[in-house]
């Protein structure tokens, strides 16, 4: 009897999925049914943000773009971890039972972040113009 009731908990989720899928499908179908179709070479061309498509999709990019993107995400996520810590910082002594424990823990964490930062800096990853980094 438990398991029968249990799945009813998911009913709102199910309804939301139905509405979302239904809305998407109906909008495409309606515009296809009601709208006028004028096929021209411009309209059938690949849409690339409004700019004429150029070159091969499999062109090669410098690996630097990926490095910078990855580092951005890494440091971004690392900074995000500080936010909840800062929010409850004043209550940390009560939670951990020690006055400075929360502070030192974050310092240890920032130490690890700094080590990573030092490493990529010395490896020349942040040096965009020079070929110092052995990429």
């Amino acid at each position: 009897m438990h398991s029968q009731n249990y799945f009813w908990n998911y009913l709102p989720l199910m309804m939301q999925i139905i509405v979302a899928v239904g809305l998407g499908c109906s909008m495409v179908t309606m515009s296809w049914l009601i709208g006028r179709h004028r096929k021209s070479s411009v309209k059938l061309a690949a849409y690339e943000c409004g700019v004429p498509a150029e070159g091969d999709a499999r062109g090669r990019f410098s690996v630097r773009f990926y490095m910078v993107a990855m580092l951005f995400i890494l440091f971004d996520v690392e900074a995000v971890f500080m936010l909840p810590w800062a929010v409850i910082y004043r209550r940390l002594p009560a939670i951990t039972g020690s006055r400075m424990f929360g502070f030192w823990e974050m310092l240890v964490y920032l130490g690890f972040v700094l080590v990573g930062f030092f490493y990529i800096w010395k490896k020349g990853i942040l040096d965009w113009a020079q070929d110092k980094g052995d990429l």
Partner: protein
């Protein structure tokens, strides 16, 4: 329990973390032409320190730390020691194999040490989320290490395949945790068993367990989740393959033992047949696949699938003896497999000069030491008496027979017979007269690091095969401590 006392329970991991960070700090400060080998020796020292810390934990009473997410007991110490020894030998082999062409050697040492941290965490974690974090630390390190010969297409392919399929499997593992949490309201391995009875939807727990079996089955390369293994092992640098075919598997087997025997003993009617099938498939597919291989590393990859199958046989025994046999087998397999990859690494060098079985022709004439070591490890892999491989298989099949797994034992024994063929093929090749004069060049001189690695692995295999009493007692203690539950519950007084 004071904070310092808790720190002792993760001391092996802390030592290795600090060592890895130090290596990463020193590495970029060294000039391009400076040798990185001292960093490797530093890593070796840190692994010794971590081994000592693990043994020190044996003196403490078994117990938990950090709100019950870490549990050190005879079981966790057994696998900590095993992983530390594997990483130790792999570091030594890497120091021996590295040459002027080796790129970013410092990072390779740091990654091996970091990987060890993750694997060790997996074996002592009793919180599924911490297990997952350990799994990720160890997996991400191995993905990178697999692709370490950057300019080699095979190595890149190996890394990419391992990464894509590995992440897929980790996702299964994580989803399994989520479903188990949904069914039991906890992710604490020690608490799941008691919560299971009160579950509103026990079906979710079963599905969750199935997902975890898929995720871990991938990590231990058990059939039918084994397809990545030959490609990943073929391309990865040989010293790394020695590591990744043993240490992450040992850690994953430890997690699997903890999950099925501590958290889900009640569901054994569900997981025992699944593990039975996985064991039978792994042994058969591994051995039949290995028969057709010409490439030595691919052959050893299929052999490692087969050995994962033998190990899973012990899981189906549902007894303390079975757990002890699985732990013992993990150790004896590690000793001989890391050893054979030490030989393969040194013989073929970092640039992988030898790859096919026929390339190994005359190895014993070029270097009697390497030939002898290769022969010894192959004999152990076959499972001939007086080697660790024999006793490992013996205990596994004995525990399975005691629990009435007659058919699985028969499949296993038939497979052991098949396996002898391809191991002997490599042995015969190494001991035949070379036809090609180019293959007669003497081998590069064995370094101190290689000799140390061979001494550790050969003596390990011999001890496990001739006087296994002490290690058998250790594995038995580990099994008992796993099934007897926790000594003291998690400290929750400070938590509000």
């Amino acid at each position: 329990m004071t904070a310092n006392f808790q720190l002792l329970r993760i001391l092996p991991e802390v030592i290795l973390t600090i060592a890895g960070v130090l290596i990463m700090l020193i590495e970029p400060l060294l000039g391009h032409s400076t040798s990185r080998k001292p960093l490797g020796w530093f890593a070796v020292l840190s692994v010794f320190a971590s081994l000592a810390a693990s043994f020190a934990q044996l003196g403490m009473a078994a117990g938990t730390a950090y709100y019950g997410v870490i549990q050190t007991d005879a079981f966790s110490v057994f696998f900590h020691v095993l992983i530390a020894l594997i990483v130790l030998v792999s570091l030594l082999v890497t120091i021996d194999t590295a040459n002027a062409n080796t790129e970013s050697l410092g990072e390779l040492f740091a990654l091996m040490v970091f990987g060890a941290v993750g694997m060790m965490l997996m074996t002592s974690a009793t919180e599924l989320l911490l297990v997952f974090i350990g799994l990720e630390i160890s997996s991400i390190s191995t993905y990178i290490m697999a692709g370490f010969r950057r300019k080699n297409v095979k190595s890149t392919e190996s890394s990419l395949k391992y990464f894509l399929l590995g992440s897929f499997a980790t996702a299964f593992f994580l989803y399994g945790i989520a479903l188990i949490f949904g069914a039991t309201g906890t992710t604490d391995i020690n608490a799941i068993a008691s919560q299971l009875g009160t579950s509103a939807v026990p079906m979710f727990a079963t599905i969750g367990l199935g997902m975890i079996l898929i995720g871990l089955g991938f990590k231990v390369s058990a059939a039918p989740f084994h397809v990545w293994t030959p490609d990943a092992y073929e391309g990865a640098p040989s010293p790394v393959v020695g590591l990744m075919s043993t240490a992450p598997k040992a850690a994953a087997f430890a997690v699997l033992l903890r999950i099925v025997y501590v958290a889900f003993p009640a569901l054994h009617a569900h997981w025992q047949p699944l593990l039975w099938l996985m064991a039978a498939f792994s042994m058969t597919i591994g051995n039949l696949g290995a028969l057709r291989q010409q490439n030595v590393k691919r052959m050893l990859a299929y052999s490692s699938i087969a050995h994962a199958g033998y190990l899973l046989v012990a899981f189906t025994a549902l007894s303390t003896d079975g757990i002890a046999a699985a732990s013992f087998y993990a150790m004896s397999y590690a000793a001989m497999n890391v050893g054979i990859f030490a030989v393969v690494s040194h013989a073929s060098g970092y640039d992988e000069r030898l790859s096919l079985i026929s390339d190994y022709r005359g190895l014993a004439y070029r270097s009697p030491l390497l030939g002898g070591a290769l022969g010894f490890f192959l004999i152990s892999l076959i499972g001939i008496p007086f080697t660790g491989g024999f006793f490992g298989k013996f205990y596994v099949f004995a525990s399975a027979l005691h629990s009435g797994m007659v058919w699985l034992t028969i499949i296993g024994l038939v497979n052991s017979g098949i396996a002898a063929f391809y191991y002997l093929r490599l042995l015969a090749s190494a001991y035949s007269k070379p036809t090609n004069n180019a293959l007669l060049d003497p081998m590069p001189r064995a370094s101190f690091a290689l000799l140390l690695a061979l001494v550790i692995t050969i003596s390990g295999t011999l001890i496990l095969g001739i006087v296994p009493g002490q290690i058998l007692a250790m594995s038995h203690n580990a099994a008992v401590s796993l099934t007897s539950g926790i000594a003291n519950p998690a400290p929750s007084a400070t938590h509000q």
